[in-house]
């Protein structure tokens, strides 16, 4: 039983670490601000989430697991919000996504006009 728990927890933790690495790599490699933001949000949703689930397998049915769940809920509320706020601040300050086709460029312009009219 312990063996299975250990394997499961290691699988989750390794998965989380892989997501963190991909996120960190993307944060450096990607050119566009919004693409980087996407990479960063990968770390604090999937990366942290999987690592925490792995840790819960280690802790078992204890108070530690309850605390981990609380922290996880907190992170699942706050980090997407932070990402959203960042993206919003960027679009309000005229940082536009780097897109390829004319169609997408139109879409960006539309988004920008609706944003500036509501805010």
């Amino acid at each position: 039983m312990d063996m299975i728990l250990d394997i499961a927890s290691w699988a989750f933790i390794s998965g989380g670490i892989i997501f963190c690495l991909i996120g960190g790599y993307g944060l450096i490699k990607l050119k566009d601000f919004y693409a980087r933001l996407h990479a960063a949000s990968l770390i604090d949703t999937f990366g942290v989430g999987l690592i925490f689930i792995g840790l819960m397998f280690q802790a078992g049915f204890t108070l530690v697991t309850a605390k981990l769940i609380l922290i996880l809920v907190f992170i699942f509320f706050t980090s997407p919000t932070a990402t959203h706020a960042l993206a919003r601040a960027a679009i309000n300050h005229d940082v536009l996504p780097d897109v390829d086709t004319e169609e997408e460029r139109d879409l960006v312009r539309q988004t920008k006009t609706t944003k500036s009219s509501t805010s």
């Binding site: 907190f74 509320f77 706050t78 919000t81 959203h84 706020a85 919003r88 509501t118 805010s119």
Partner: protein, 349 residues
Amino acid sequence: MNIEIITSDALNVMTLLFMAVTAIAIARIRNLFAVVMLSGIYSLMGATLYVILDAVDVAFTEAAVGAGASTVLMIGTLALTSANENATPNKQTIKALIACTLIGFALVYASFDMPLFGDPNAPIHNHVVPRYLNDSMAEIGLPNVVTSILASYRGYDTMGEAFVIFTAAVGVIALIGRGRREKSANENMADANNVMKRKIVLRVVSKLLIPFILLFGLYVQWHGDFGPGGGFQAGVIFGAAFILYGIIYGLGTLRKALPAWLTRWLMALGVLLYACTGVVSLIKGASFLDYNVLASTPTGGQHIGILLVEFGVGMTVFASIVTIFCAFAGRAAADVNKVSAKQRSAGHD
């Protein structure tokens, strides 16, 4: 070699390495926003290091004050000044380099005389620490020795710290807090209506979180006797909830919930409560801040005394943080208003 020792050594080395890299980046980068963010990261690394050293209370304070509150306050300051550092051309680089190298070597040389890291025979572990660790349970009766030291054995020092924070807030009020017109109720309403229209995600999430942040602040305040926590951390967490509210709903709405006179009173009342606890113990015939006489039994007295002074510290820290934030944010908002008013009058011409 034991695997736990290796991993903890690796953690220490990695954290210190990251801190060094961050410090160099702070010195090199000219964009002050990036510098503020990096200093937040530096504080977080410091907190990690304290956790590795098992100093959870200090780590808690570092994370709350260093990485949380001071980052917000520094960003508030940047709103008043420019976001870029002016590079001053310096012709004395060689001299400065030589001076820094010499001092660095002197410090490294001096470090050879210091006791080894974690050495049980080091003077610091043999002076008063044995008494704290062995006797504090009998003398104070609190499971968290850090709180016993902070609030009772070292009560004077902690009172000084509380007064430092109080003085900082008073200084900020004296420098930039006054002399600006407070917004009228109508303008506040207009602000609130403006806010209603946008930032929906932020509003919903912050409304969801603020009660829990406040609850956590209270928990940290009153649970400080038994676990990591205490007045300083609780004050900052409690203040952070109100600062979050102020950032999202506007300063006017924050000031409606928490008027300026209230924070000013709380700020002074906190340190007053701390000092008065000491005076009461004086009146009861013991020395200043000796809580033994506050109740019928010495440990009972210690409990009451520590609870009171921690509450005083929490109150002062909370009110000071909010006051400092409001002073900076209010000043920045006033400047923005002035600029837009100027633009409007220019448009009329």
